[in-house]
């Protein structure tokens, strides 16, 4: 039997001639350090690859059912969730393996950066890696659109409004992005084509180049402070060391890769099984206001940065900053492609990583909570806390009704409930006097800032009642605010 099999194999290889290539690839020597305990640093790239394989598999599975047309997309996703056996699981797995892929690619990049592995002769490997990151993020964004819920529909609207800010060719870019003058079937089809054909094609080509470069330039040895990179001697030293102490790739190193990949697969499968598929939340209905589109988590930091920046910086953040950041990533191996690789000797690099992840983390958290978005239903859904009106006079009670009716609550919380765009007004009576309140409410934030001027939006009687209510908002026993120069202390 075995003899028979090897004869069939021999027949094929006589024509294909791949045996020698495959064997030499599997057995190519890698630095001894990369196969030892430090080899655990090298597992993230292969884990990304494993997750990509899951994405391709689950993606093909989902495409068997999903309909990329607005009148059917939502239903076909619901069908996947509830009718198709294990459709829910495939959808969930596609989401969590995709999320995991972003995480793994980022960790892989961070490791390569910290270990200085991007230095000579692996600059091009880094550049292709950055493009792979762009592809991965592109897959995430286009995939979110295919979910065709309000986040997708209004996300496209926001993306269109952003693209529309490009000088001169803005409208053409919007047209190209949406595939027409309105968001609809043409927009969805084009993101389907991007998600299923264009970006995966680019990603696989780039991946082939990335892997070829890894094989050709060799895996970098774990950084050693005593061996700084010198492009003039690096290749000779590297290969001499490989001949002397190298170990075959197919062995300890692959075992670590396989172990970690298996762990990652178990984690994403468990996550998918426990968390279930993400959305679709509801059918997008352009006539329903109050939709507040959220980008997927890899983009929350940009969303937050945009929301918290002054209006003057907005167009810069939308159009220039992403290009700038990408350009910086591209420039990394050209800023320094020699010298120390060990993180212990590169404090600036370590600091940069710490700062970058702190900033990204804080912005992502802010983007997740989004305190800048008004709570559109708060005026009718969050009642004034009873404790605040228990001792109220009729006028103050009336004022609390004005407060709710004029939608103040959408931006101002009482006792932590309500919008958080403006300050919480639970104790406003201790901070602003009657006159200051009237001024603030009538004129809003000077210069058209964050609060609208309510001067024309309410009558004098409503204003009187409202201010009476606001002045009463004080912790028990606290006096109302006073102007120090005018009112003598009691």
């Amino acid at each position: 039997m075995r003899n028979w099999l090897s004869r069939i194999g021999g027949w094929f290889d006589h024509r294909l001639g791949v045996r020698a290539i495959v064997l030499s690839t599997l057995e190519h020597p890698i630095p001894r350090g990369a196969a030892g305990p430090l080899g655990w640093w090298y597992v993230f790239g292969s884990a990304s690859l494993t997750l990509l394989a899951i994405q391709i598999l689950t993606g093909i599975g989902l495409s068997l059912v999903y309909v990329p047309a607005p009148d059917q997309a939502f239903e076909s996703l619901e069908y996947l969730n509830y009718e198709q056996p294990l459709g829910w699981f495939l959808r969930a797995l596609h989401y969590y393996a995709g999320s995991g892929m972003v995480v793994m690619v980022l960790v892989h990049m961070t490791q390569v950066f910290l270990h200085g592995s991007y230095k000579y002769p692996r600059e091009l490997t880094w550049l292709v890696g950055v493009l792979l990151l762009v592809c991965t993020l592109g897959m995430f964004f286009s995939g979110q659109i295919l979910r065709w819920d309000p986040d997708a529909y209004w996300g496209l609207a926001v993306a269109g409004s952003m693209a529309g800010r490009v000088p001169v060719v803005g409208p053409q870019i919007v047209q190209l992005l949406h595939g027409g003058p309105v968001i609809g079937g043409d927009s969805l089809s084009r993101f389907f084509a991007l998600h299923v054909f264009v970006i995966p094609g680019a990603l696989l080509l780039l991946l082939a180049a990335h892997l070829w470069l890894v094989l050709r330039c060799g895996i970098s040895a774990p950084p050693d402070p005593k061996q700084p990179v010198d492009p003039r001697t690096y290749d000779v030293d590297y290969h001499a060391e490989l001949r002397r102490t190298g170990v075959p790739f197919f062995g300890g190193a692959v075992l670590k890769d396989a172990f970690f990949s298996a762990l990652v697969v178990i984690v994403v499968v468990a996550l998918a099984a426990i968390m279930g598929p993400k959305g679709p939340s509801e059918l997008p209905d352009p006539t329903i206001g109050g939709a507040n589109p959220r980008p997927e988590w890899p983009f929350l930091w940009l969303f937050a940065l945009l929301a918290m920046s002054p209006p003057a910086a907005e167009t810069f953040i939308i159009l220039v900053l992403p290009v700038l950041l990408l350009g910086l990533l591209f420039l990394v191996p050209f800023i320094s492609n020699r010298g120390q690789r060990a993180p212990s000797r590169r404090p600036a690099a370590v600091l940069l990583v710490v700062i970058s992840y702190t900033v990204l983390g804080v912005l992502t958290y802010k983007g997740h909570t989004a305190p800048w978005s008004p709570a559109m239903n708060a005026w009718s859904s969050d009642p004034v806390p009873i404790a605040m009106v228990k001792q109220s006079s009729p006028l103050q009670l009336q004022g609390s009704a004005v407060f709710q009716n004029k939608n103040c609550r959408n931006c101002h919380a009482l006792d932590g409930m309500g919008g958080r765009r403006g300050p919480d007004l639970s104790t406003i009576g201790t901070r602003l006097t009657r006159d200051q309140l009237i001024d603030q409410i009538s004129n809003g934030t000077p210069g058209g800032g964050n609060m609208p001027a309510y001067g024309k939006q309410m009558g004098p009687h409503e204003m009187t009642a409202l201010v009476e209510f606001l002045v009463s908002l004080r912790p028990p026993g606290q006096l109302p605010a006073r102007v120090a120069t005018l009112d003598p202390p009691p």
Partner: protein, 196 residues
């Protein structure tokens, strides 16, 4: 035996080979053009549709000084757009001008900041945007928040007692909208601005 070890010269007729070379380039160029033009045209061809008017209802059906959303199926959508084709605009009947002509304020639902859908709050007479808290007054003028301008206005006309609006390009908000830009602060000012 010398001739046997030397391969015969490739170009028996050098002129013919040169000609064949040029012929191949030419043929290749023709093939590339024949293939490239229609394909490029398909990909780049912007999807143009003529301006189409949508009937929003009889002028009498709008109460003066009341803003409400009027919904319609956008004629710019594809037959397979489903619910997504169903869009709307905010309409406010401003009453009649000096020439007894009905005047309307027709506002796009998309925030002028980043295109999110604004909500009309009749109690406070404000439009509020859920995304970054842009607020507009009843006449569409910017009140507060990040929007750089007031709400976009749609081009409208009255035909045979019916209010019609040019189907807006969501959310490009560019070519179908009232180009006059500056939002009128009162009905009398609006009456002077040109509309179709």
């Amino acid at each position: 035996m010398e001739t046997a070890s030397n391969p015969p010269p490739l170009d028996l007729l050098p002129g013919r080979r040169t000609f064949f070379g040029w012929l191949t380039y030419g043929l290749g160029a023709v093939a590339a053009t024949m293939l490239g033009f229609p394909i490029a045209q398909y990909f780049l061809g912007t999807w143009q549709r003529r301006a189409s008017w949508v009937k929003l209802g009889a002028v009498d059906s709008f109460l003066p000084g009341v803003t409400r959303m009027v919904t319609f199926d956008s004629p710019l959508s594809q037959p397979w757009d489903g619910r997504t084709a169903h869009t709307g605009v905010f309409v406010r009947y401003l009453g009649q001008d000096d020439n007894q002509q009905a005047q309307f304020l027709v506002l796009a639902v998309n925030c002028a900041h980043l295109g999110c859908p604004v909500t009309w709050f009749p109690q406070s007479e404000l439009f509020m945007c859920p995304c970054h808290g842009g607020v507009y007054y009843a006449n569409g003028e910017r009140s507060s928040g990040p929007p750089p301008r007031g709400l976009f206005r749609c081009v409208w006309r009255v035909q045979q007692g019916n209010l019609e609006v040019q189907a807006p390009h969501y959310p490009t908000l560019d070519d179908t909208l009232d180009k006059s830009g500056a939002v009128a602060s009162s009905a009398s000012r609006l009456a002077r601005c040109k509309h179709a």
